[in-house]
Structures are given as structure tokens and as C-alpha cells.
Symmetry: C2
DNA sequence: CCCGGAGCTGAATCGCACC
DNA sequence: TGGTGCGATTCAGCTCCGG
């Protein structure tokens, strides 16, 4: 949050981020577990480092989300866009936080994960959602009409650097709504997937990550990409 | 609502309905327009009769939805399921109403409409959503795992009996979560699309419709289906 | 019967003119 | 000034018709 406050007003064209969902488990006890236990089957545990900000109850979660969304709003140029991942359970809370942070809520984009885990006798929970907001009237960056549903496979567990890593092609898709050469902010940079997608599509990137472990992972990853300097 | 109150407690296995969305327009005036104006391009107007319950503001809309959802909950058997259509704009309000009505919110199923209207420089608003709730722990009706996304074309305007008619194949898909031979309630029966899907898949159907015009349309439609008596 | 191209529509949205 | 109403606009996919 301190890093976010340090950024200049209206210095960013777009926000694209995947905040902690804080949504695993119906009971307080389950939510208070560390993410690496909550989101993984038991045999896969301890593969990923824990990440901060994922054990709030829903009330303080909304307040906290509103705070960083308002800061992100402040640093974004008028007409800029905000894209934020959420799962089905937190979606209503996140639309509240998005709008409370000042953003104009415009849309829900669907990420269809074909390899989601099935559950017997129920509809699969196979989607995550991307909430779209804008700072006032959206400044169109392209003449194209973009799809509202993206079918992209999740990153294979063996290739993942972060527990909830999003596929790079999906981020490419989402960046289509931003102008080329623009500056993109990710306040929850994680293992820098958004950063990679920005660099690959000719966008500038500003990232913030609280976890020292993931910050170092991100630096390592970005150093392996060719045309990039710290 | 009176018809709903007249039904016996725990007499229904599932609720499947498409209530008025009350979501067109940002201003009071636009919301007060009749649905046939609000949701149709100007040249196509006056083809469909208007339907009631689509001009509440969001606060009274949630209250009203909670009332009928609570009644629907009352008449549903424990372990029964509720499936309710909504659009992106009303989704958070409807999850509140669903849960306030007593239901356990379980999922968001996505209806992907391939022919949604595009808009330049933006993501298409190409989905509607089906909120899934259960009365307590869900009683599984099948061993199969059902998809979480359904790509189904909208009903062609020339073949539609109702402005917001849902495709019958989509309702077939959704009914897969209910046991064969069960009784399904639709408190907003419209032109009886849900009824048709129930009869075609061997479910019993109870429908309620406020609009006399649509009630008569529904009766006509159902009479043309073979194995059915009033 | 299959194929290809023309035509049309959409649970809208935007912006401007007008009270 | 602010709220309201009307008309122009968008293109992928579906329908339909003719070859």
C-alpha cells in the first residue's frame, strides 16, 4: 500500500491484477488456514510459498479491497481501465469494492477453465471472472470488438511458479483492451505473469508484491525475458 | 405471490426461473420504461407484450426478490435446488436476495450467448448467469458431472413468444441436475419455456405468470405439446 | 444435399438535442 | 444545469435462400 501511495496521480493507463481471493472454506477456521493448505490437495502441500492478504473475513476483506482499489483509481488516468480477477464466491463483494473504490463497473468477463475439477451431481465450478471497471468514461483503445468469454487452460502444476498463476495467453487477451505502449499496474504481481504478458505485447509494467519470496521469483523470471532492464 | 403462498410446504423438488432483471438503464426514467422499449432496438419495437415487475429500483428489487425467493424456499423440499437467471449487472443483488431468502448459494453457471451484440473497444457482454442455490445440503440426483458453462444460441426473434425467451436446449441442460419425474416450480413462467423443457424431459411442472397475455400464450403453447393434460 | 454469401438481429450503449 | 428521450452505431453468428 505504501508503494501504491507513492505513485503519482493519473500516471497509469490500466490496472490488471489478481488479488488474493480470501474465499476458500465456508468456516472461519478453514479461511484462516494458510493458502498453501486451503487451495491444495493434501499431497501437493508445501510446494508453494504462502502469500499474504488471504485470511481476512469478508467484511474486512471488502474494506481492504476498497482501500487499494481507491489508491489504484487515484493513480489511473481518466478513461483508464481496471481488470480484476475474482472467483464466483467473492464476485459480489468485489463488485462492491470496485465501485466503492470509485470505479465505474462495466462488465464481467468470463475465464472458462476447461480442465476444472468436476464434482459429482453438480455443475462444475469451471469459471473465474474478471471484473471490468473504468475511471469515468472508457477511452477506447482499439476499434475491435473483444470477446466476453475466454477459454484458456490453467497452467500445469509442474510449470507453475505461483499457486494461483494465470495463463499468459489469457493476460494477452485481456491486454487487448489497452493501447499499445501504455503503462499497466499490477498491485499483486505474484510471480510476474502480468509483467511477462505486458512485456511480450509492448506494454510498460509497474508491479508491487508484498511477499519477498515471490518478488525474487518474479525478478528471476523477468531476467530470463530478453528485452528488459530493471 | 398469492399463488406461491398457496402451495404446500416442501412440495417441490426444484425451482428454475427467469425473473425480470430490472436492469436496463442507469436513470430512473429509463428504468421506468416498459421492457419492450428498454431491451429492444427501436425498429423492432412493439413485437412483444410487456411483462410486469421490471421497473423497480435496486433496493426494492432486492426486497421483492427476497420475498418470492423465501416463499419458493418454503415450498421446496430439503436438498432441493434453485436455479435463477440473472444478467451481469444484477448478479450481486441476486446473490444477496437468494441467500436472504434462505438458500445456500452454491455456484454461478454461465450461459454463453454466441450472438451477443458487440461494442467497439470493449469486451462483449455475451453471458447471462444462472445462480445455483440449495435448501441445505444438496441431494445429488445424478452421478454425472455437469458442465459449468453452456454455449447455446438465443432463440431467433422470429420464433420467439417472449422478449427474453430462453432456449429450450439450455433448460434441458439445467434440468439435468434434477431427478427424473420430479416437480419443478417456475414462479415467472412467461411463455412456458421451462414448462416445455420439463415435459420433454419427464419432469412435472408448476408455473405462475402474472401477465394474462403471457398466461394465455403459455396455455396455447403447452396444448400443442402431445402428452399433456391441463 | 451441400455450400456460400447476403441479410438481419441483439435482456445495448453512447452522445447529443431538447425541455 | 440537470435529467430525459431519441437516433445512430457495432459485427459475429445465425437464418435463409439460391446455385
Amino acid at each position: 500500500m505504501a508503494h501504491l501511495k507513492a505513485l503519482d496521480e493519473c500516471s497509469i493507463d490500466a490496472v490488471l491484477t489478481d488479488p488474493p481471493y480470501s474465499s476458500g472454506g465456508l468456516t472461519i477456521g478453514q479461511r484462516q488456514q494458510a493458502p498453501s493448505k486451503k487451495y491444495q490437495s493434501s499431497d501437493a502441500q508445501k510446494k508453494f510459498a504462502d502469500f499474504p492478504g488471504d485470511n481476512r473475513d469478508q467484511r474486512s476483506f471488502i474494506t481492504w479491497a476498497t482501500l487499494w482499489l481507491a489508491e489504484a483509481y487515484r493513480v489511473t488516468k481518466p478513461g483508464g481501465v481496471c481488470m480484476m480477477f475474482t472467483d464466483w464466491r467473492q464476485l459480489p463483494a468485489m463488485t462492491d469494492a470496485l465501485q466503492a473504490g470509485g470505479w465505474l463497473w462495466r462488465n464481467i468477463v468470463v475465464w472458462d477453465k476447461p480442465t476444472a475439477r468436476p464434482s459429482r451431481g453438480e455443475f462444475k465450478r469451471q469459471c473465474e471472472f474478471v471484473l471490468i471497471g473504468s475511471k469515468g468514461k472508457l477511452t477506447p483503445a482499439t476499434d475491435r470488438c473483444l470477446p466476453g468469454v475466454y477459454r484458456r487452460s490453467i497452467v500445469a502444476s509442474s510449470k507453475r511458479l505461483h499457486l494461483t498463476e494465470k495463463p499468459v495467453p489469457l493476460l494477452h487477451d485481456l491486454l487487448q483492451i489497452t493501447p499499445e505502449g501504455c503503462t499497466v499496474l499490477d498491485p499483486f504481481a505474484g510471480s510476474a505473469t502480468t509483467a511477462q504478458a505486458c512485456l511480450e505485447t509492448g506494454r510498460r509494467f509497474i508491479g508491487i508484491e508484498l511477499s519477498q519470496t515471490y518478488f525474487e521469483t518474479a525478478c528471476t523470471r523477468l531476467k530470463t525475458l530478453a528485452n528488459w532492464t530493471l
